[in-house]
Point group: C2
Chain length 754, copies 2
């Protein structure tokens, strides 16, 4: 496919997606807000969320400026500019998504109140969520378009010159090769700078949002449910509004920027791999190089267009079924299937001209000797690899559902264990979480190995791209959850009739399941994106082989050998990192939650008539506590994971950092799965008791109390630690890739000659 | 050093150690048992422990026979015989150690009762423990001696022939080389067969013992402390005797066979590495080969002799100080320092003849070109590497103490968190455990890297040998703990005067600290032994390089490349394995504990006058429940971890298994540290509240109740899961090493041509 055509497709998809997002934004916003009380509460949530995100972005802005200056000084000014573009794109997506979520929540409640229709209410909630989803893909692609337009021109130029000079002297070709090599290295840095921009927003949004939402949630639960025995979302609880704000800043904005980062990481790691592989290690091969560089972008564009159709498919129908889960699944499946179909067209036009096994580069070498990029069944190979990614993403989500939904045995058993008290509830939940790590890893393994067999390392990158290509829909479904949750809270706090709460509860219950699926998907996609990024990292620091032997064994030296002591030690320390990071986050949440507990206790004690429902609590102080706690506590872990690989790199060199990345990625995948599934199961185990699933037990009984302990323990695990681990591994591999050129040679160990 | 001299040293040390063990055994056994009631209780514990271990060994015998037959058929009959020798040695050590522990416990109580002297009581307890410690080293070395005597003769023979023929034709040398190569490969299998024998005993002893002890403990706590609110070890609790039996089968026999396995693994991995490195990959170099093969054995013999002196140093003094912890530390430090001194002598006589940097092999090649074995500072290099191991072992133990003792901030903070209820107790403990992973990993990393810089991969093996060389003393100190714990229980159940309990409590408190240190040490040493074993594994399956290029780059191909998809997928699945295994173990404990809870509840309800202390409970049924539960539940996890690498090997090949080993080892190290430290801190946090450390809180209060929940959750983590993970990684690497020759070529993927 022609460069102009691909970039055209990208910008059309990006603008199309954003336009549809804008349309949905305004069509939600123009709906009625409902009673005065509803407006008041919604406004309080909105003001709180806006205040927090404004503060958060101020802190991020400072960090981003520092990072940008460092990038400009140490790496290149183009990397710095790309970094800023990435940060702006990710920041905008999160901001818009959160904004509409705080408009949509009350409108969902009001639709339930006025229409009494599940179908109509679902539409409003999903429309709200779709803005976040479409913005994620749209903004990410728009940014990539700009970066390619501004900095990527060299690719085409060199290509043209290369072909032109092909027949001329060998010396001239060598000159071209050198030029290509230098340009490739520079452009790699620029692209990873863009990814880093997205990462930096994501790390702050996820960690900050995660601490915010769980400090409020735990604070509300620890006093409200456990001590005062008042129900969730009860207006008498001073922390409820903060809890609702938390849903918006954590589960909408945080989630959006998290998946935006995975999306960008997956796309660009494919592109970067192609650049590194060909420009630096194989020399020449520019036709195929071009196809491989642009395939991820075109595929992503096709994915976004599919998602627009998939999302719209839900709104064009007048009346939806009574099963919201089925409807949301429908949108996801339509998006995924269309992505596969359109993706086949993209793959055909990208690769069919290169034939099957006998791919040759511009110097006439048969490419099949390079084991790492072999299109075993022609253009179909990368397409099937991407399709494997799509399917693996869905399966991993389903596994998360199996372990955390109370429709299945694991969570049912967990709920039954609550009868024996809190100790066995915790014990059982821990074991559930631990056991749940295996299946997703097996699926991930099959996806990696299968896609590798099809087209080598590029195939693995293609699988990552496939898994994330329909992210617009998955994020839309995910963001629908907290909006429905908020809607329920507003209904409760506005004293609306029980029927309204029934409708929102039904939506919320589905939201819990979609959240669990979304979490499984998030860690699966983060893992694949990171592994793909890691490969690029190893390519990036391995010196280009001598020209003399470039046709054979050129890729032999590209390795990360675990029994090299630097790598081994890096892997061990790296594996400890996610554990330490998780511990720090749990502490941060506990610290903020403790302040919240004190404040809630104080209000219950000092404000007369509060528990009797005669006066309203002071919501604002609680919002401030959550806000300040999150802003204060997020800095150390966030800066820690940005700085760690770079500092290690300048001291111990590139191989050590390679080991750190491997160790950290592997251990973070396990911890994230463990935290997500244990936390989800504790949450739903509690709900199972509430709906009467455990014989003889009900809300407020001993078993329920034990289950609440499990839920409280699980909350920070599933909503703060797990999601933040996704980002930890992505940002570490991204920043390593950006800075490796600087520390590969200039590090302390090298200086000391060790 | 001469072969005969080394083997002589080994047998002298082994028999000396065992003789001293026998002396201590009988000098403990001849002491008085005390009152009739004390004798009754002690006898009940002894009968229960003997019954369990007899059953356990029956199961192990069946598994061992199956494994031995398979080894004889698939690998070699010598590997099968060595396997049986290993199993017998490990089994005997565990059996003798447990036997004396069940004699020593009541004699410790009686010494406290009759002498009222802390010093005398400490001596009896430590004397009991020293039998286990000395048997571990003594039996292991005795077995190695036998294996070398029977199967290792070829080493010397080839060496002699080799030197004789050195000047003759090249063809003859090639013949020698081939012979050497074949012999080396065979002997590697035999030695790892011996290690596997020790592993198989260890896995059953640790898992079985761990499930037994925690099912009884949790069962006793869940009903006794939490529901009936009666103190620990109260004779009214039907599960107390089972709890005391558990200490003997889990914390004495289980621990002993665990560390015996690490010890053997560390020694033999050094030896095997030398054989693989020289016999197969470097060819020739037989003088140095010999020195490198025998150095680990000689060093271990020196270590055992040091430990005999270190242990005896405590008994030769008439009156000990009032600080048992100081005395035990003294014995440990004397052993460690003497090991370093004697080790220097061993290193000098082993390596000084090879000079410094210009080591040459028998073909006249300069050995310094082989980056992986370079004695940078002559014979001092391997000695310093071993010393680094010794120091690292002690430091890792101290770090575990820091995180789990209530003398330090982490556990104090955890105890304070209990004031906020059980949810925050759990949350804080989880974060403590997670954060505690980093420091030991950094120490491990420094040890690995430092020892590598000194003498390459062989240096890493030397560090592992160093860390484990004084294991006789560390196990003695460890085994002293459960004996004192039992002694306290017997005092309580025999209604002895409070002064007796005061003395045993003081010993027990120290035992808790030494247990935590021991756990840290166990995982640190297991990690080092496994990593060293893993290197041997990679050497073993890498085909020997062509003769033509053996002087240069011969070791280049020895690599485990993480970005190879088979390795990467293996590492991901492998990392999930310890999580799954841990989850299975927790479930097993919970299942057995639940049955115990039911039985205890039944007895409280049905036996009239029991809670009033008028009649005694039915201890025997509880012992049977623990016993049957453990025997039933241990099979699946134990067989699972033996079979997993072999099955993977025959399906996916050697590289995949290499990845599995890396992933599993790294993630198991983290999980084991997490479980050990979180569990230890919860336990001591509870104790801190009991001794009045948290202001305004005491035993029986709300904070204490919350702390008991933490303790109950932590119990299976620290005493079943953590220790079993040590074995998981060791047995996986051992069995992979034994079987790799069989599956390296013959696996499904190879057959399918993928």
């Amino acid at each position: 496919m022609d460069i102009t055509l691909v970039l055209g497709l990208v910008i059309v998809a990006a603008l199309g997606g954003l336009a549809y997002a804008a349309f949905n934004y305004f069509s939600v916003k123009k709906l009625e807000e409902g009673t005065e009380r509803m407006q008041e509460i919604a406004s309080a949530i909105r003001v709180g969320a806006n205040a927090f995100i404004t503060y958060e972005y101020k802190i991020v802005a400072i960090v981003a400026v520092v990072v940008a200056i460092l990038l400009a000084l140490v790496i290149s000014w183009s990397a710095a500019v790309a970094f800023v573009i990435g940060a702006v794109m990710s920041g905008s997506a999160g901001w818009v998504g959160m904004k509409i979520a705080t408009f949509a929540n009350v409108r969902v409640t009001n639709t339930a109140r006025t229409s009494k229709s599940l179908s109509d209410t679902l539409k409003v909630a999903f429309k709200g969520g779709s803005v976040m989803g479409l913005c994620v893909s749209g903004c990410a692609l728009l940014g990539i378009f700009i970066v390619f337009l501004v900095f990527g021109r060299g690719l085409g130029q060199i290509e043209a010159e290369f072909i032109h000079e092909q027949a001329s002297s060998c010396k001239s070709i060598l000159g071209m090769i050198n030029e290509n090599l230098n340009f490739g290295a520079g452009f790699t840095m620029t692209l990873s700078g863009y990814a880093l921009g997205c990462s930096v927003i994501a790390i702050f949004a996820r960690i900050g949002g995660g601490i915010y939402t769980k400090a409020a949630d735990m604070g509300a639960d620890l006093v409200g449910k456990t001590e005062a025995h008042i129900p969730e979302d009860d207006p008498r609880n001073p922390a409820t509004i903060a809890d609702n704000v938390g849903d918006n800043v954590g589960d909408v904005a945080g989630l959006g920027s998290d998946l935006l980062e995975s999306y960008v990481g997956a796309l660009l790691s494919g592109t970067i791999l192609a650049i590194e592989l060909f420009a630096k290690h194989v020399f020449g091969g520019t036709d195929l190089l071009e196809a491989m560089i642009y395939f991820p972008l075109a595929f992503a564009a096709a994915g976004l267009i599919s998602c627009v159709i998939g999302i719209a498919s839900l709104f064009v129908r007048k009346k939806l079924s009574d099963n919201p889960h089925k409807e949301l699944n429908g949108a996801t499946y339509i998006s995924a299937i269309l992505t596969m179909l359109f993706g086949a067209v993209i793959a055909y036009f990208s690769f069919s001209q290169f034939g099957g096994k006998n791919v040759t580069d511009d110097l006439g070498n048969t490419l099949s000797i390079f084991e790492s990029v072999e299109f075993h069944i022609g253009w179909i190979s990368p397409w099937v690899a991407a399709a494997i990614g799509i399917i693996a993403g869905i399966v991993i989500g389903k596994i998360a559902e199996y372990y955390t939904s109370y429709d299945y045995k694991p969570t049912k058993d967990l709920a039954s264990a609550s009868v024996e008290g809190s100790a066995l509830t915790i014990t059982q939940g821990l074991s559930l979480g631990m056991i749940s790590c295996m299946l997703p890893c097996v699926v991930l393994g099959v996806a990696i190995y299968g896609s590798y067999l099809l087209s080598g390392m590029y195939g693995v990158a293609a699988a990552a791209i496939g898994m994330l290509s329909f992210v617009a829909t998955t994020v839309s479904v995910d963001a629908y959850g907290p909006i429905s949750d908020n809607a329920g809270g507003i209904a409760e706090m506005s004293y609306l009739e029980p029927e309204v709460r029934e409708i929102t509860d039904e939506l919320d219950a589905v939201g819990n399941t979609t959240a669990a699926i979304g979490k499984g998907f998030a860690i699966g996609s983060a893992a694949l994106a990171t592994l793909s990024m890691m490969t690029s990292y190893i390519f990036a620091y391995t010196p280009a082989p001598e020209l003399a032997n470039y046709t054979e064994g050129a890729l032999d030296k590209i390795a990360l050998n675990v029994i090299e002591p630097a790598v081994l030690v890096g892997a061990i320390v790296g594996a400890a990192l996610p554990f330490m990071f998780s511990g720090m986050l749990i502490n941060a949440v506990a610290k903020a939650a403790r302040k919240m507990v004190e404040e809630v206790r104080r209000q219950f004690k000092e404000i007369k008539g509060l528990l009797e429902g005669e006066v309203l609590p002071d919501y604002k102080t609680c919002i401030e506590i959550s806000s300040q706690g999150a802003l204060k506590e997020m800095r150390v872990p966030a800066i820690f994971c940005i700085a760690f690989p770079v500092v290690c790199g300048f001291i111990f060199g590139a191989e050590f950092v390679g080991g750190v990345l491997v160790g950290a990625t592997i251990s973070a995948i396990m911890l994230a799965l463990f935290c997500g599934n244990a936390g989800g199961a504790w949450d739903n185990g509690k709900k199972y008791i509430e709906v009467g699933g455990v014989k003889g037990e009900a809300k407020g009984g001993d078993a329920h109390d034990a289950a609440v302990v499990g839920d409280t323990v699980g909350d920070p695990l599933k909503d703060t630690v797990g999601p933040s681990l996704d980002i930890l591994i992505k940002i570490m591999s991204t920043i390593s890739l950006v800075t490796v050129a600087a520390f590969a040679e200039n590090n302390l160990l090298n200086l000391l000659g060790l």
